[in-house]
Symmetry: C2
Subunit: 322 residues, 2 copies
């Protein structure tokens, strides 16, 4: 499968070139985030769906990153990805004359609730990035949350992906409903929030909603429920998993993308997507997400090792068993 | 331990007399319920916290029932309990000149939300029942949701219970705050909803709230989260469990009391309350609750056998494992 560590003596870029075709491709947003939470705040921090996703996935497999920033993107801003030997940044475009996506959120005392203070789509409202030629044979693909039109455009550039999973959000379900429905026809997996699943299907019962979406995409669907865990819909069954109980949460931003990244990273590394593999992948997603929300931005992930994730998985497994 | 089936040839009442002292005692409400839900409605149906609790517990152990109805209680209303050989109804008081507790609820299209259309406390606002002398040696006790003053009064009549678990509700936390805090000092276990745990502790994080309540009662605490499962706080650890995914729910009334009944029934039958036993007990509570909400009132439980519960538990265990 893929190399677990960069080849000693080669740069990350050189190592990347030699990687086989089953790598995981991700495309989505790169964000300059300002986050206010009861426990503090960060200004102009690294964020964005594909950033959290790819860093989390890199604990498990090699990742091919595709995304766009503007020329306002600060020097060294993407260093956590650039310096990560398992993330191939060939697909990063720095677009002259454009501005980077920005998001400013404020979490309530109950951090499960937040307000968007400001959002500037900027480069996300423009034409999407081009998928580099060497990336087009990717077997596993994650279309992180962005405009469904862009997601479809990305998808059309790929040769013969085996598993394409997309995320979306309430904004697109409401404003671009037709495009989201078209997206469902072209992917074979979805990861989305419970409120989004209900909105998309107009069904109040989240289990019924997930079953309908799984029928539409004819592949696995994962419904994320934040602190309430997740539901996997696969091959006609529904697999529930709780989240890791957290007595304190610093910043939930990116937890959903981290979840998806670890999940897809494990799936790509295993090169399987049967229900048993997906269940373990989701458990990895769950514990990796529980790590990212212990600090702002990607800070906590940056000091995490794969062994830390495995240790938390083992602990989680013991807590859930009965 | 306790007899699994009534001795052939004796009446239920005779069998009960011979049961040992570790039986499970429950006291709480008996209700005449009217329930409107998207899938239909029932008028003047059997309900109440101690009714759901004791029927669910009877799948696992013998139950000693204590409760009061008024003289308006219809003939045969309590037959499902009266005819259940594992429920000892010695503690049922039919109070002359009083009226039975009545509740009328209406569920939304999303059955996780409901409105109380009408509530008549009636006999619940009067003096509590007396615990029959032969019940006072009970080892396992569940004080189902009712006025905390009544719960304390019941508790004072018991000799030396080993595990006393109480439920409560937002109404009492708000209107009888001091009495609820006093109750916490006199029990060694609690079962309550997530919103109630937050209200009681004034903590937005439900995990932190549960940890504080567990410190207060110096025993296990179970936080029920409805469709999102439950959290067990025991011996310094937090054990999450999801609920059984249900694509359709007919009537969620009594699901929480059914959960507690199966849980406490299993604990009493095992005569243990260590974390491993509690986790299995909670899994039994979870699957038994998933059965009760498939129909109105106790209807679905009345056609359920212990084997059905065990089969659902085995299935649930497979879905949750990873």
């Amino acid at each position: 499968m893929s190399l677990r560590f960069p080849i000693s003596g080669t740069t990350a870029a050189e190592a990347n070139v030699q990687r086989p075709g089953m790598s995981l491709l991700v495309t989505g947003s790169i964000g300059i985030d300002t986050v206010e939470a009861p426990s503090g705040e960060v200004v102009d921090a690294l964020g964005g769906s594909s950033v959290y996703f790819s860093y989390a996935a890199s604990f498990f497999t090699d990742v091919r990153f595709v995304g766009v920033v503007g020329d306002d993107c600060p020097e060294g801003f993407l260093d956590p990805l650039q310096e990560n030997p398992r993330v191939d940044m060939t697909g990063l475009e720095v677009r002259e004359g454009s501005r980077t996506f920005r998001w400013h959120g404020r979490y309530h005392e109950d951090v499960n609730q937040r307000d968007t203070v400001a959002v500037e789509l900027n480069v996300l409202a423009e034409v999407g990035p081009t998928i580099p030629e060497p990336f087009r044979d990717s077997k596993y693909v994650f279309l992180a949350n962005t405009h469904p039109g862009l997601q479809l455009e990305m998808l059309s550039q790929l040769a013969a992906p085996r598993l394409v999973v997309a995320d979306t959000m309430d904004l697109w379900i409401t404003t671009e409903h037709e495009a989201v429905l078209r997206l469902l026809k072209h992917v074979n997996g979805m990861v989305l929030n419970d409120s989004e699943a209900r909105l998309l299907t107009e069904m109040p019962n989240v289990v019924a909603a997930g079953m309908e979406i799984a029928r539409d995409v004819q592949g696995p669907v994962v419904i994320k429920r934040g602190e309430h865990g997740s539901l996997l819909f696969a091959e006609g069954k529904v697999y529930p998993l709780p989240s890791c109980p957290m007595a304190a949460v610093v910043d939930p931003t990116g937890a959903g993308d981290t979840f998806a990244g670890a999940m897809m990273g494990y799936v790509a590394d295993q090169d399987r997507s049967d229900p048993a593999t997906l269940r373990r992948a989701i458990a990895y997603g769950t514990v990796t997400a529980s790590i990212v929300l212990e600090d702002f931005s990607l800070n906590r992930l940056l000091v995490t090792r794969r062994e830390d994730i495995d240790a938390r998985l083992a602990e989680f497994q013991q807590l859930v068993a009965f």
